[in-house]
C-alpha cells in the first residue's frame, strides 16, 4: 500500500489520541471512558507500527501546521533515538489503556490520559525547540490532571501542587539551556542547535550541560530534585502512575541523551563524573528509602528514583569514557542505559498495575494491612511475582541483561583505563550498582512477602477478589515483554547497540551481539567450552533443565508424601500478628544504613494494672526525610522570609507605586545607555 508510510501512521496515531481526548465528552453515559481508552489503545498500536521502521533507520517526518500561526510549522521527526523512546511510550500505553478499560474514570481523566501519551510522543518526536517545549508542557499539565484524580483529599492537592512547581522549575532550566543554544545557532531547529553548540566556547557548553542536567534531572527525579516523585506517583490512578514512572521519567533520559551526546557531542570528563555522582546518590538513596517504605506505591516511586539514578550512572560512564578516548565503551554504556530504560518501563508498569489491582481488591495500599493475597488473587500474584523478579534483575527476566550490560561496561572501563581516576570510579560504580541491585531484591522480597504471602493481616485482605481480566491481561503483556527482553538479548542488544553507536558516533560494527554479550567462540579468549551460538541463554536453559531434573529425581527417588499442619509458633495458635511486618523485614537494612537514613522511633506505653503488663503499646517509627527538612524547608523559609521583607515595599498607596515606576524607569535608562 503506497499511501501507508510510517509518517502517515504516526500522524494517524496523533489524531487518534486527540479523538480519544474529545470522545469522552461527546459520548453518552456509561461508554465514556471506554471509547477514550479504546482510542488510546488503537493510537498506541499505530505509534508502535510507525516507530519500528524508524528504529531501523527509515526517516519518519511530519510537518504539522503550528498552533501559533506566526511561529511557523511544527516539525516532528523520529530518528532512531526518538523512535526507541517512542516504542517505549507506546509500548507501555497499550497495557495502560487496557487497564483503563477496567477502570471507571471520569471523562477529564480519560482525556488527560490521551493527551499525556500524545505529549510524551511529541516530546521524543520533536525536531525543534518549540514543538519540544510545547509538548513538554502538555505532558506536564496532562499528568497534573491525572495526579489530581482524587482532588478532594488535601494530601493529593498538596502533591499536585508540589509536582506542578517542580516540573516548571525543571522546565525553566531546560528553556534556559535551549535559549543558549538557540542564540548560538541562530534558529530553533535541532540541526541549528547542533551547529550552534559546536560554535560555543567550552564554558558556555558546560553551562548548557549543567542547565540540562538540572532541568531533566528534575523531570527524571534525580536526588535532590526528586521530592515530587514520591508525592505525585502514589496518588495518581495506577495506570497513570505506571505511565509516569515507566515512561515519563524516560523522557528525561531522552533529554539528557539529546543534549549531552547529540547537541553538545560529549564534553570533558567532569560532565560524566557529575552525572555519575548524581546517579549514584539517587540510586542508593532511592533504594534505601524504598526499602524502609511501607506504602506500596510510594515504595515503587522511590524505586523509580533508584532506576533513574542507575541510568544516569550509565550515562555518566558513557560521557567519561568518551572523554577518555574510549568511544566503544561509551557506546556500550549508552546501549546498556537504553536496555535498562526498556526493561524498567515494562517492569515498573507491571508493578504499578499490580499495585492498582491490589488497591482495588483490598482498598489498602499499606503493606501492613495486606497478606495472603496469593490465595485470594492467584493470577495477579503470579504476574506481580514476575515483576518482582524482573526489577530485582534476576534471571531469566530482562533486568538481568541490562544489569549485566551496565556492570560489564563499568568493568571494561576499569580495565581500559587502569591507574586512573576513571578506572577507580568505574570500579566504585560497579560496586554501587551491585549494592543497589541487591537492596532492590531485598525490598521486593519484603513487598511481595508481606503483601501476598502468609496470613491476611486485615479484614480487607481476607475479602480480596481476583482482578479483572483486562487488568490481568495488561500485566501479562508487560511480564511477557520483559521476559522477551531477557531471553531475546541476542536480538535486542545489537539493535540498541546501533542506536547507541549512532549517538556516540562510532561505527555500529563494534556492537554486535557477540561483542556486547561477551560471548566469544569457544576455546579462545572467553574461557569457555561453549560455542558462541549458545549465548548467555545457555545457563538459563540449564536452569530450567536442572529444575526439571530435580523434580524428577525427587519424584522418583523420594517418597513424595505430604500432609499439612499449622506452623510451629512455640505452642500458641498462629496469628497474623506473629508474622514479620514490612518495617521489621528491612530493619537490618535500616540499622546498617542508619547514618544515611537517620531512623527514629518512639514507643508509647499505656500502663496497666502492673508495670510488667501494659494496657497498650504504640510504636511510631520512620526515617528522616532529609531533603525535605534540610534542603527544601530552609530554602523555602528563606524565600518566604525575603518575600515578607519585600512586602514592606507594598504600601498600598498608588503614589508610592508611581514613584517606584519612575525610579525603575530612570534606572533602566541609566543602565541601557
Amino acid at each position: 500500500m503506497e499511501g501507508v508510510t510510517p509518517g502517515n501512521l504516526f500522524a494517524a496515531a496523533l489524531l487518534t489520541y486527540l479523538a480519544g481526548a474529545a470522545l469522552p465528552f461527546l459520548m453518552p453515559g456509561g461508554r465514556r471512558g471506554r471509547a477514550g481508552y479504546v482510542a488510546a489503545f488503537a493510537a498506541s498500536a499505530l505509534s508502535l507500527a510507525a516507530a519500528l521502521p524508524a528504529l531501523a533507520g527509515h526517516r519518519v517526518e511530519l510537518a504539522l501546521p503550528g498552533p501559533v500561526p506566526l511561529l511557523g510549522s511544527f516539525h516532528l521527526a523520529l530518528d532512531p533515538t526518538g523512535a526507541f523512546f517512542a516504542l517505549l511510550i507506546a509500548g507501555l500505553a497499550v497495557p495502560a489503556a487496557l487497564y483503563g478499560l477496567a477502570e471507571s474514570s471520569p471523562p477529564w481523566q480519560v482525556a488527560g490520559f490521551n493527551l499525556f501519551v500524545l505529549g510524551m510522543l511529541a516530546v521524543v518526536a520533536a525536531a525543534g525547540v518549540l514543538p519540544f517545549l510545547m509538548a513538554w508542557e502538555l505532558m506536564a499539565l496532562a499528568s497534573y490532571f491525572l495526579v489530581m484524580a482524587e482532588h478532594q483529599r488535601p494530601e493529593v492537592r498538596r502533591a499536585g501542587y508540589v509536582y506542578l512547581v517542580m516540573t516548571h522549575l525543571g522546565t525553566l532550566f531546560i528553556i534556559a539551556a535551549f535559549l543558549l543554544l538557540v542564540r548560538a545557532g541562530g534558529g530553533t531547529g535541532f540541526d541549528q542547535l547542533r551547529a550552534g553548540a559546536a560554535a560555543l566556547p567550552a564554558a558556555q557548553r558546560s553551562l548548557v550541560f549543567l542547565l540540562a542536567l538540572a532541568g531533566f534531572g528534575t523531570k527524571g527525579g534525580l536526588i535532590p530534585l526528586h521530592v515530587w516523585l514520591p508525592r505525585a506517583h502514589p496518588v495518581a490512578p495506577s495506570h497513570a502512575s505506571a505511565l509516569m514512572s515507566g515512561v515519563m521519567v524516560k523522557t528525561a533520559i531522552y533529554g539528557l541523551l539529546r543534549f549531552a551526546l547529540d547537541f553538545l557531542g560529549g564534553g570533558p570528563a567532569w560532565w560524566g563524573g557529575t552525572l555519575l555522582l548524581a546517579g549514584a546518590v539517587s540510586a542508593l538513596g532511592g533504594v534505601l528509602y524504598a526499602a524502609v517504605e511501607g506504602h506500596l506505591k510510594r515504595m515503587l516511586a522511590f524505586s523509580t528514583v533508584e532506576n533513574v539514578g542507575v541510568m544516569a550512572m550509565g550515562l555518566g560512564a558513557a560521557l567519561w569514557a568518551q572523554a577518555a578516548g574510549r568511544p566503544a565503551v561509551a557506546a556500550l554504556a549508552v546501549a546498556a542505559v537504553l536496555y535498562h530504560a526498556a526493561h524498567h518501563s515494562a517492569t515498573k508498569g507491571l508493578l504499578f498495575l499490580g499495585a492498582g489491582a491490589v488497591h482495588h481488591a483490598t482498598g489498602a495500599l499499606n503493606l501492613e494491612q495486606m497478606g495472603g493475597l496469593i490465595r485470594r488473587m492467584p493470577r495477579t500474584a503470579a504476574w506481580f511475582l514476575a515483576g518482582a523478579v524482573a526489577i530485582s534483575a534476576l534471571p531469566p527476566m530482562g533486568g538481568l541483561v541490562s544489569e549485566w550490560l551496565l556492570l560489564h561496561t563499568f568493568l571494561q572501563m576499569a580495565a581500559a583505563l587502569p591507574a586512573s581516576l576513571a578506572g577507580a570510579v568505574a570500579l566504585a560504580g560497579a560496586a554501587v550498582l551491585a549494592l543497589t541491585g541487591a537492596l532492590v531484591a531485598a525490598t521486593m522480597v519484603k513487598a511481595y512477602g508481606v503483601a501476598f504471602l502468609g496470613l491476611p493481616r486485615s479484614a480487607a485482605a481476607e475479602s480480596a477478589r481476583e482482578a479483572a481480566p483486562a487488568v490481568r491481561g495488561a500485566m501479562a503483556m508487560l511480564a511477557v515483554a520483559d521476559l522477551a527482553l531477557g531471553l531475546g538479548a541476542g536480538v535486542v542488544a545489537p539493535a540498541l547497540g546501533r542506536v547507541a553507536a549512532g549517538l556516540v558516533g562510532v561505527p555500529a560494527t563494534g556492537l554486535s551481539a557477540r561483542a556486547m554479550l561477551g560471548v566469544v567462540a569457544g576455546g579462545a579468549a572467553g574461557g569457555g567450552l561453549a560455542p558462541a551460538a549458545l549465548l548467555p541463554v545457555a545457563p538459563l536453559a540449564a536452569l530450567l533443565g536442572l529444575a526439571a531434573l530435580g523434580w524428577l529425581a525427587a519424584r522418583r527417588y523420594g517418597r513424595l508424601r505430604w500432609r499439612f499442619g499449622p506452623t510451629w509458633t512455640c505452642g500458641i495458635l498462629p496469628d497474623p500478628r506473629m508474622q514479620y511486618s514490612a518495617a521489621g523485614y528491612t530493619s537490618p537494612i535500616r540499622l546498617m544504613f542508619r547514618r544515611l537514613l537517620w531512623p527514629s522511633k518512639q514507643v508509647r506505653v499505656t500502663a496497666g494494672d502492673h508495670p510488667l503488663f501494659p494496657h497498650a503499646m504504640e510504636y511510631t517509627g520512620g526515617v528522616l526525610p532529609v531533603y525535605d527538612t534540610h534542603l527544601y524547608r530552609p530554602v523555602l523559609n528563606a524565600v518566604l522570609g525575603a518575600a515578607r521583607r519585600l512586602r514592606r515595599l507594598q504600601m498600598g498607596d498608588t503614589q508610592i507605586y508611581l514613584i517606584y515606576l519612575f525610579g525603575t524607569l530612570l534606572l533602566l535608562l541609566v543602565l541601557a545607555r
Binding site: 537492596l439 574461557g527 561453549a530 540499622l591
Partner: protein
C-alpha cells in the same frame, strides 16, 4: 555442542557427588578441633537419603511458591556451578563476563528461598529471610569487587580464562595484590557459605539463625534438595576460591585428541581440585573454631574488610604497572 553437554554433565556430577563429602570432611574436622570425635565423613550422604524418603509436613499457608522455591534454588546453584572452572581452566558454560551472571544466579536462589519461607507466616521465617537478604546486599558488591580484582590482573572477564591465565603465570603470579585478593576471597567465602563468624550453621537457636531460619518449615525431599544445593553452593564457592587464589596446577583445556587423554586430564584436575577444596574447607573449619559469631550490625564492617582488601589489591596492581 556435544562437548559442552558432556562437560556440563561431568561438572554437575562432580559437584553433586563431592559436595556432601566436602561438607562431611569439614564437620568432622570441626569436631576434632573442638575436642569431639565429630560425625562420620559420609554422614551428609546418609542425611540426604533419609530426607528423600521422609514424609513432608507443609505449613497450612503454603502454596505452589513453597513447592517451587527449592527447585529454583537447586537449579540456580547448579547453573552457577556450570560457570565456575573446576577440573579444567574452563567452565562448561563459561563466557566473557560470566562472573556477573554467577552472582545473579546465586541471588536468584537466595531470592526464591527468602520469599518462599515467608509463606509459613512464622516470625522465625521472617527473621531468617530478612537477615539473609540484608546479608546478600552486602555480599554481592564484595564478591563482585573481589572477582574484579582478578579480572583486572589478567585482562579478561571470563572466569575460566582468568583461572587459566593465573595458572599459567605460575609462582611469579604470587604478588602482594594476589595475596590481598586471596584474603578478600576468603572473607567473602566465609560469608557466602554461611559459616562463623557470619552465621552459625550448627545453631539450634532460631534467634541466631540466618540461613537455617529460612529452612525451618521445610522437610522431607524438599529439604533434601535445599540441603544438597547449599552444600553444592559451598563447594562452588570453595572451588572458585581454589582456582582463582590457588590456581597452580590447573590443567588448561586440552586440544582435540583422544578421548582418553581428555578424561585423564579432567580426572587429574578434579583430584587436584578436591585436594584444594578440602584444604580450604579445613581452613574454614579452623576459622569457625577460633572465631565467635559477630552481630548482624557488624556485618557491614566485616564485608567492608573484603571490599577494602580488594580495592587495595587493585590500587597496588595499578601502581605496579599492571
Amino acid at each position: 555442542m556435544g562437548n559442552t553437554v558432556l562437560a556440563a554433565a561431568g561438572q554437575l556430577a562432580l559437584v553433586l557427588f563431592l559436595a556432601p563429602l566436602v561438607q562431611g570432611i569439614i564437620k568432622r574436622a570441626k569436631g576434632r578441633l573442638q575436642g569431639r570425635r565429630g560425625p562420620g565423613i559420609g554422614q551428609p550422604y546418609a542425611d540426604l537419603r533419609k530426607l528423600l524418603l521422609k514424609e513432608m509436613v507443609l505449613p497450612e499457608t503454603a502454596t505452589w511458591l513453597f513447592w517451587a522455591a527449592p527447585y529454583v534454588y537447586f537449579a540456580a546453584i547448579l547453573a552457577a556451578a556450570l560457570l565456575v572452572p573446576m577440573a579444567l581452566a574452563a567452565a562448561p558454560l563459561g563466557f566473557g563476563g560470566d562472573a556477573i551472571l554467577l552472582i545473579y544466579l546465586l541471588a536468584l536462589g537466595r531470592f526464591a528461598l527468602a520469599l518462599a519461607t515467608l509463606e509459613s507466616g512464622s516470625a522465625f521465617a521472617g527473621m531468617g529471610s530478612s537477615r539473609e537478604m540484608a546479608l546478600g546486599a552486602l555480599v554481592e558488591p564484595a564478591l563482585l569487587l573481589t572477582l574484579a580484582t582478578f579480572f583486572l590482573r589478567t585482562g579478561s572477564t571470563g572466569l575460566g580464562d582468568v583461572a587459566g591465565a593465573l595458572s599459567a603465570a605460575g609462582w611469579s603470579g604470587v604478588t602482594l595484590p594476589h595475596l590481598l585478593g586471596l584474603l578478600a576471597l576468603l572473607v567473602v567465602a566465609v560469608a557466602e557459605t554461611g559459616r562463623v563468624p557470619v552465621d552459625n550453621p550448627d545453631t539450634h537457636l532460631e534467634l541466631t539463625m540466618i540461613h537455617e531460619g529460612m529452612l525451618l518449615e521445610y522437610s522431607g525431599p524438599l529439604l533434601a534438595l535445599i540441603t544438597w544445593a547449599a552444600q553444592a553452593k559451598q563447594f562452588l564457592v570453595l572451588a572458585l576460591a581454589a582456582n582463582l587464589a590457588l590456581p597452580w596446577g590447573l590443567p588448561a583445556v586440552p586440544g582435540p585428541g583422544p578421548a582418553g587423554a581428555l578424561a585423564l586430564t579432567a580426572a587429574s584436575g578434579a583430584g587436584l581440585l578436591l585436594v584444594k577444596v578440602v584444604a580450604l574447607g579445613l581452613l574454614l573449619a579452623a576459622i569457625e573454631t577460633v572465631s565467635a559469631k559477630i552481630r548482624i550490625l557488624r556485618l557491614p564492617e566485616f564485608l567492608g574488610t573484603a571490599v577494602l582488601l580488594a580495592g587495595l589489591a587493585v590500587l597496588i596492581q595499578w601502581g605496579m604497572g599492571g
